[in-house]
């Protein structure tokens, strides 16, 4: 069976679900952040696949902008994690569930 759009749908759905599972399973804030990156990449993969199928360059530009936003997000998010580590000396998100220090 030759590769068609359904294969790419399944692959990116699988990667996205793994990302969701990781974000729910782990307590380390950095790992949760990496799972979010994984979900973004699953969506990027699907956008590129449909860009190839419909021969449309707009989808690839969307992927480009998603990467731009992800880079900005990582810079701010890692700064927040470093600040949190400096305050509570841990990256465990369960420490942060009381909204006070």
């Amino acid at each position: 069976m030759p590769v068609n759009s359904t294969h790419y749908l399944f692959l990116s759905l699988l990667l996205f679900s793994i990302g969701v599972m990781g974000a729910l399973m782990r307590r380390n804030a950095i790992i949760i952040f990496m799972c979010i990156e994984l979900m973004l990449n699953a969506v990027n993969l699907l956008l590129v696949a449909f860009s190839k199928i419909y021969a449309d360059a707009n989808a690839q530009l969307f992927v480009f902008f998603i990467m731009v936003v992800a880079a900005a997000e990582v810079a701010v998010g890692l700064a927040i994690i470093v600040m949190m580590y400096r305050k509570v000396h841990s990256v465990d998100i369960n420490i942060l569930n009381r909204l006070k220090h």
Binding site: P2, V3, N4, S5, T6, H7, L9, F10, L11, L13, L14, L15, S17, I18, V20, M21, G22, L24, M25, R26, R27, N28, I30, F33, M34, C35, E37, L38, N41, N44, L45, V48, A49, S51, K52, I53, A55, D56, A57, Q60, L61, F64, F65, M67, V68, V69, A70, A71, A72, E73, V74, A75, L78, A79, V82, Y85, R86, S90, D92, N94
Partner: protein, 179 residues
């Protein structure tokens, strides 16, 4: 089976197994390395689909810059498997079940989707000359706005990451001098 199909299955197997490695490995450094491998596999998919520019950007920006930033932060904090916080078995099971339910629901909804045939001939829409034309003709405003976004993210990261003790110690020193 064509070469395209073989490469698709090999790259998919690498991507999915490394993604599982990200969420299952206890050591955060191993997680980062698995995620880099996943990004390389996804870049291979991009090359397969004639999106060469995105493949290169994915390697340079994601695997090169972002993941090295993650690695630096993890090594700065001296995290390893011993201090890794673990959720209880029940919470982990609940996470897996909810992720699996999401997978099943979306799987059921896309199962009947029409299978579009992939055009396996090489096209030039993914080349940088074509993407550059589209970017600077139709997406000039978002491109410029993203530069403002980067500037604000940069300033935000510096403001958030700055040590607060520096200011207090400086003011304390000034008070000491004035006394």
């Amino acid at each position: 089976m064509e070469l395209y199909d073989i490469l698709f299955w090999v790259l998919s197997a690498i991507a999915v197994s490394c993604a599982l490695g990200v969420i299952l490995s206890r050591n955060p450094v191993n997680s980062v390395l698995f995620l880099i491998l996943t990004f390389f596999a996804i870049s291979g998919h991009y090359v397969l689909m004639n999106a060469q520019f995105l493949a290169i950007v994915n390697i340079i920006v994601y695997a090169g810059a972002i993941m090295v930033l993650f690695l630096f932060v993890i090594m700065l904090m001296n995290l390893n498997a011993d201090v890794e916080p673990q959720k209880g078995q029940l919470v982990q099971l609940a996470g897996v079940i909810s992720g699996g339910i999401l997978f099943l629901v979306v799987l059921a909804s896309i199962k009947t989707a029409k299978a579009e045939i992939m055009d396996k001939t090489s096209t030039d829409i993914g080349l940088i000359s074509n993407l550059g034309k589209v970017l600077f003709k139709e997406y000039v405003l978002p491109f410029e706005i993203s530069s403002v976004l980067f500037l604000s993210a940069m300033i935000g990261a510096i403001v958030i990451g700055k040590k607060e003790e520096v200011k207090t110690s400086a003011t304390a020193k000034m008070e000491h001098v004035s006394e």
